[in-house]
């Protein structure tokens, strides 16, 4: 019976995919304007912070991001649109923030970057911003296919005391309302986002943790294979949609 339910949900997600819609369009015009005009978008402050960190050596002996990657406007253009990607060293999928952490640890030295810390959010925002306006284009290698399949399976699995799957809200009831809020389709087009509720920038994983706590489930850990798998599935689901970083969301 459950298997049948999953099959039905999978059908629904295909139907949704034909008329995909960024969460940007589910916001009121004032919030949309805040995202579209950089001079009003507080997420740009994190991008600027990341730009400064890009050229900064984490310790005097280390190289800065710019020392290897040069001008991010060209070297990082399109990169965020392709993440998560398969990391041959780890033999697993890695998200953009994870790649930045790895670069810091293995190539730069210096203090490790904490998940959801200011520095990592700033660098991730800066790198992702270089892809703004480009279509999301996930890689199609075998390693990523496995991660995406795992992500899809989590996406359609009922979780928590409320016994709800991601798909039940974001496929079956997208466009409907939960209390006063429009339920968005849940496309990860603008991460890291400036969420008005947080009053700061945060990652997709923070947002997913919020959803999991909302359905009274134990959230996965930051950087876990489960979160990266969900992100890989969501990016495939949003293939072709425009990167918006830094997006504003309520």
């Amino acid at each position: 019976m459950r298997r049948i339910a999953f099959a039905l949900l999978a059908c629904c997600s295909v139907a949704v995919a034909e008329e995909r819609r960024s969460g940007l369009l589910d916001m009121r015009p004032e919030a949309q304007a805040m995202q579209r005009d950089d001079s009003m978008n507080p997420g740009m402050l994190w991008v600027l912070d990341g730009e400064a960190l890009w050229g900064h050596k984490p310790n005097p002996a280390a190289q800065s991001c710019a020392d290897c990657h040069g001008d991010a406007a060209s070297s990082m253009r399109g990169v965020a649109a392709r993440y998560p990607a398969f990391d041959a060293v780890q033999g697993a999928a890695i998200d953009l923030a994870g790649r930045i952490i790895q670069c810091r640890e293995t190539r730069q030295g210096g203090a490790p970057l904490a998940r959801e810390g200011q520095e990592l959010l700033a660098l991730t925002s800066f790198v992702a911003h270089q892809s703004r306006g480009l279509p999301i284009a996930p890689p199609n290698d075998a390693g990523m296919r496995a991660a995406r399949a795992q992500g899809q399976s989590i996406y359609i699995t009922r979780l928590g005391q409320l016994d709800l799957s991601c798909a039940q809200c974001h496929d079956d009831h997208a466009g409907g309302r939960l209390a006063g809020s429009v339920i968005p389709q849940g496309h990860p087009t603008g991460y890291p986002i400036y969420r008005l509720e947080w009053q700061r920038v945060g990652s997709l994983q923070r947002r997913l943790r919020g959803c999991m706590v909302g359905v009274r489930a134990e959230p996965f850990a930051y950087g876990s294979a489960e979160f990266i798998a969900i992100e890989a599935y969501l990016m495939e689901r949003a293939r072709g949609m425009e990167v918006e970083t830094p997006a504003i969301r309520p």
């Binding site: 805040m34 209390a179 809020s181 509720e197 909302g214």
Partner: protein, 145 residues
């Protein structure tokens, strides 16, 4: 007092908003009186633009514009914006001069709940003009906590 189930249910909500008690809390009327020095306020000349329906009260864009030629003889001196039901009634007080060119101010504000906003303009002739706008802040479903 008999502790009913209702009281217990209400208690955690009350703890979330440890606002000052009504007695020591400055009211909207007090804040307006402080700004105008008790002078009467007239309707008109001030336009307060804010969405009547807000989906998140943490960053609500507002603009205030005042009809005035902004000359040495006739200009805007100050704009004050006040609210009814945040913990404090003050939002922003901005000073202008003929060098401003236009009587215009935009900012992003916080609204704790659905309530009235009042924008008051003090003109160079000492007159006060005001506009009051009601804003509905919708209940967010997916908040962390």
């Amino acid at each position: 007092m008999k502790i009913t189930r209702r009281v217990l249910l209400a208690a955690p909500g009350a703890l979330l908003l440890p606002a000052p008690t009504r007695a020591d809390r400055q009211s909207l009327a007090d804040a307006l009186r402080e700004f105008t020095g008790g002078q009467p306020m007239r309707e008109g000349r001030v336009r307060l633009d804010v969405s009547p329906l807000v989906e998140n009260g943490n960053a609500v864009p507002i603009t205030v514009a005042v009809e005035t030629p902004m000359t040495a003889a006739d200009h805007l001196r100050r704009i004050g914006v006040f609210n009814e039901r945040n913990p404090q009634p003050n939002v922003i007080i901005a000073q202008f001069s003929p060098r401003s060119g236009r009587a215009y101010l935009a900012t992003h504000i916080r609204l704790a709940t659905s309530q009235a906003l009042v924008a008051v303009a003090e003109m160079s002739d000492g007159s006060f003009w005001a506009q009051r706008v009601e804003v509905v802040v919708t209940l967010a479903a997916c908040i962390e906590g």
